[in-house]
Structures are given as C-alpha cells and as structure tokens.
C-alpha cells in the first residue's frame, strides 16, 4: 500500500504555544484513518496545519501528498491538489443558499455537467438538503449545516477528504447516519482522514487509529486492535477494568462518552 498523505515530524506553534510537538503519520490510499485524543490534544491543529490555515506553519517538518511536499503553500493550492476539508464548527456561508454552497464547493472545477451530477449525488446522500435548496445556510439547523459542510467538500471530487469532528453536536441517530455516509464515500474511492471525540464510532469505521496526546502521537495501530486495547478502553472509550469482589476482572462503563 502506498501513502497518499505522509506527515513527517511536523511542529506547529501558535505564536509561543507549542501545539504540535513532532508528529508523524501516514494515510494509506483508500483507507479511513482516525485521529483520537482529548480536548486540546492538537487534533484540529494538525488538520489546520495540513490545510495551511495557520500562518507560516508548520515551523518544522514535511507534509507530502502523493509524494509531493505541500507544506508552506497557500490553502487554495492544497485544495487544488484534491484535498477537501470539513472544518470543526462547519464554517458555512450564512447568506448563501444550499445550492450556492455546493457550487462554491465546486469552485475549482470546470466541468459543468459533472458538477450538476454531483449536486444530485449530494442530495441523494442528504435528502433534507434538497428540500432546503434555496434556503440560506444560516437558517439551517446545526445538523443540516454539518451535512452541508460535508456536501460542499464532496463537490471537489477530492482524493482525500479530511473531517474534523463530523459528529459534533449531532443526535445519536444522525451520528450513525453521518458515519455510514462517510464509509460510503470511502467505498467510492475517496481516502478519509478523520478526527473524532466519538472514539468508539471512529474506531469502528476506520482501518487505522492514531492517538494524540499533548501534540504527540502516543499510539498507532489497527482500529480493531485499539478497540481492544486496555488503555484505549480506559481513557478513550470510558470503559474501566477493575477487579470485582469475586476476584476476576470485568469491564465496566466508567462514564458515557459524549
């Protein structure tokens, strides 16, 4: 397998805040890769660094897409290479309609018929958006805005799609739906890099899982292995092992994961 995206030893600062402290990982072509970690671990920062959304960062390190270094470029150049990004907190255009969003998602494309087809494809994934075609995005519900952000990213026909907490603020049913759609998108040939708080969900659809703590990766592995790992269970899935009164180990849910 070849790596579509390869991040080598990057370090990112926000002024004096040392946020990413030498992180390396690879995303295999065709895979779903998940990055997990606590609040403030630096997950979003890694994604923003890849998308060149933090000025003059990464300070050190190399980011290669398809074997070509892409760090320290402008964001639009990186998008042009076929990397679509669904940011944390949606970042929609309040006063553009759903339809206009999808057109903007295809801003770099010239093939009008293909764009039309893809708009229909997005509506097939998210039928509710079709009913809102001419409604301003600012008037959509939070969940609908999240679908719109994913739809907009799809319109690029990306080779790699990067999603930052797509499940944030969604109802449990919608979370399931969104993950099902992410898997479907992946099956049509798009490589996926995913950041999630919902560790259980993320590990169950991804092939590879990476765990970030304080700006460094502390664990990498097959998602199925991670799901069984004792530390992961304890710290990220909220399941604690303890010795019961009768003397054998049992697994107990410590707290509901948000």
């Amino acid at each position: 397998m070849t790596a579509l995206l390869e991040v080598k030893n990057i370090e990112t600062y926000y002024d004096l805040v040392y946020a990413i402290r030498g992180a390396s990982f690879a995303v295999e072509e065709g895979s779903i890769t998940a990055i997990l970690g606590n609040n403030g671990a630096g997950k979003s920062t890694i994604l923003k660094t890849i998308m060149a959304l933090i000025k003059d960062q990464p300070e050190k390190g190399v980011i290669e897409f398809d074997g070509v270094p892409i760090q320290n470029r402008d964001t639009d150049e990186i998008v042009r290479k076929g990397i679509a990004y669904v940011p944390e907190g949606r970042e929609i255009f309040e006063e553009l309609t759903v339809h206009e969003h999808l057109l903007m998602g295809a801003y770099l494309r010239k093939d009008t018929p293909g764009v039309k087809q893809d708009i229909e494809k997005v509506f097939a994934y998210f039928p509710v958006l079709k009913q809102r075609t001419h409604q301003w995005a600012g008037t959509l519900s939070g969940g609908e805005q999240q679908m719109l952000a994913i739809g907009r990213a799809l319109m690029l026909r990306p080779r790699l799609m990067i999603l930052d907490e797509p499940s944030l603020g969604l109802s449990p049913i919608l979370v399931k739906e969104i993950f099902a759609i992410i898997r479907e998108i992946n099956l049509t040939g798009t490589t996926i890099l995913l950041v999630e708080q919902n560790a259980n969900m993320a590990l169950s659809i991804s092939g590879t899982g990476l765990i970030l703590e304080n700006g460094r990766f502390v664990m990498k592995g097959n998602s199925t292995d991670l799901l069984e790992d004792k530390d992961v269970k304890e710290f990220y899935l909220g399941i604690k092992s303890e010795t019961s009164a009768k003397g054998y180990q049992r697994w107990k849910r410590k707290k509901a994961w948000r």
């Binding site: 959304l53 998008v79 949606r90 970042e91 309040e94 903007m104 939070g142 690029l156």
Partner: protein, 291 residues
C-alpha cells in the same frame, strides 16, 4: 406642489451620487471590514484623470471614460495590493488610519498636479442643460446620473447574483476561512473588490465633475455616501442605496422648506439619530451563529 415635486426630483438625482459612493464603501467594507475613507479621493483622481485625457490628449468622451474606468479599477487593485495587504497584523483602527493616509496622499497629489481652483470638465452635457416636463425642470445631467447609477446597480446586482466570481466574492465576504477551503484565492478576491469599488466611485466622480471640479469635490458626496452606508447597516447594498435616496430627498426638502444653510447638516443629524435608535442600521439583518 410643483416646488415639492421639483425638490423630490433633484433629491433623487443627488441621491444617485450618494448611492454610488455608499455602494462603493459597502462593497469594500463587506470584504475588508474597513470603512475606506480614501473612497472619495480615489474617485477624485479618476475624475481628474478623465479630464486630463480629454483636455491634454483630446480623446473622445467615450474613449476617455472607458480608460478612466480601467484606470479606476487598476488604482483600486493597486492600493489593496501595494498598501493594505502589506499591513502586518491588521486591526480595524490601523486600517482606517491607512485609508485616511491614502486619502491625504491622493488629495495632495491632485492639488499639486492640477491646482486647487475650479476646473471645467469638457463634458457633452452641461450642468444647466435641462428638460422641462409638465413645468418641472430636470437637468439632463441629473437624468444621466440617475440612469447611470441605476444601470450600474443592476449590473452589480446581476454580477453578485449570477456570476461565479460574484458568488466567490460574497462567499469571501461571509467567511474567509470557508472561502479558502473551497479553493478561492481570497487575496485576489480582495484586490478585485477594491477594483470594483473604485470603479463604482469613479462613475460617481465622473457624474459630479461637470458641476463641481476641484480637489474637494468629492468630500460632500463621499460623506453623504458614508452616511447612507451607515444608515443601511454598512453591509447591505440595497440598504445603502435606499438610504442614499432617502437622504437626498430629505435633504432637499429640508433645504426647500426649512433652512438652506443647514441643508447639508441634515444628513449627519439623521446619522446620529439612526445610530442612537438602531445602531445596526435601518436595514441590517442578523443571523445567530449556530453552535
């Protein structure tokens, strides 16, 4: 009655130039979030550029105006690219000071190059040519101003509504980061915005220049345009236009019926009132950001 109609008609005409200046300021404000105090002087230098083409180079009016509009676009793009973009860690206050600096430089340049006295613009329509319709005098220049302003507004409307570039500009105005992640070069959009705004202002300047042509000719229209933009909420194109026409009409009625000396002050009384009562402007719309 005829007086009244007459005043309304002139109010609409003068409102057109306020509307253009207001539009120019709103267009920049929406993308750069800075009120561009150099707007008037950008229009000023464009008008003098037109005069130079007409008097020194003896170009035909159409050609001269065409080149003037090209000049205006380039000027706007240049100012954004060469000056505003260079601002390190820009904040609104700093940007405002920069636009005031640009204003001073342009004003100084025009005064130095062309002198401060009143000039005449060799325009095909003079300020006193008029039409008489049912006892109402309408100056041809006023009609031209109104028509040109309306046409330009329609073109702008169509541009923002139906072209990809216009849509990309709106997108950039609404969310810079989101625009970048769909691949829009937001820097370039900013530059084009300044170009378009400069063009709109230059049209106002050209339409004013047959009546008044000296280095301070744009002060009044620019301040009134700004007033209209503020009344309209600073981010609404139709808001600025409606407010500009209201301002022109109210001002004229006030001058006719109350006091001619305080005519120009009316605009600012209205601004103060609006800012006290509805600080977000008369036409602003707000969406609550969803979490």
């Amino acid at each position: 009655m005829i007086d009244f109609i007459q005043m309304i008609v002139s109010g609409i005409a003068v409102g057109s130039s306020y509307a253009l200046m207001g539009l120019a300021m709103v267009i920049i404000y929406k993308t750069s979030e800075v009120p561009n105090f150099a707007q008037g002087e950008m229009a000023l230098i464009s008008s003098f550029f037109a005069m130079m083409l007409l008097t020194s180079f003896h170009l035909s009016v159409y050609l001269a105006f065409f080149f003037t509009l090209v000049f205006a676009v380039l000027l706007g793009c240049f100012l954004e690219f060469a000056i505003l973009r260079r601002a390190k860690e820009p904040n609104v206050l700093g940007m405002i000071v920069i636009t005031i600096g640009i204003e001073m430089i342009l004003l100084g340049f025009v005064s130095w190059k062309f002198g401060a006295e009143q000039k005449t613009m060799p325009f095909p329509i003079g300020p006193y040519d008029s039409l008489i319709i049912r006892d109402i005098f309408i100056s041809k220049l006023e009609v031209l101003t109104l028509v040109a302003a309306l046409l330009l507004m329609i073109v702008l409307f169509l541009f923002f509504k139906f072209t990809k570039l216009g849509l990309a500009m709106k997108a950039t105005q609404q969310n810079r980061v989101a625009a970048q992640i769909v691949g829009i070069r937001t820097n370039r959009i900013l530059m084009i915005t300044w170009g378009i705004s400069s063009l709109v202002g230059a049209v106002a300047g050209l339409l004013i220049s047959p009546t008044i042509m000296h280095p301070y000719m744009m002060w009044d229209p620019m301040l009134k345009g700004f007033a209209a933009a503020v009344m309209g909420g600073m981010t609404s194109l139709p808001g600025a236009v409606v407010a500009a026409y209201l301002l022109g009409i109210i001002e004229n009625l006030f001058g006719g019926y109350v006091s001619i000396e305080f005519k120009t002050v009316v605009a600012f009384v209205i601004i103060v009132l609006v800012l006290c009562i509805r600080p977000s402007g008369l036409f602003a719309r707000h969406y609550v950001k969803k979490v």
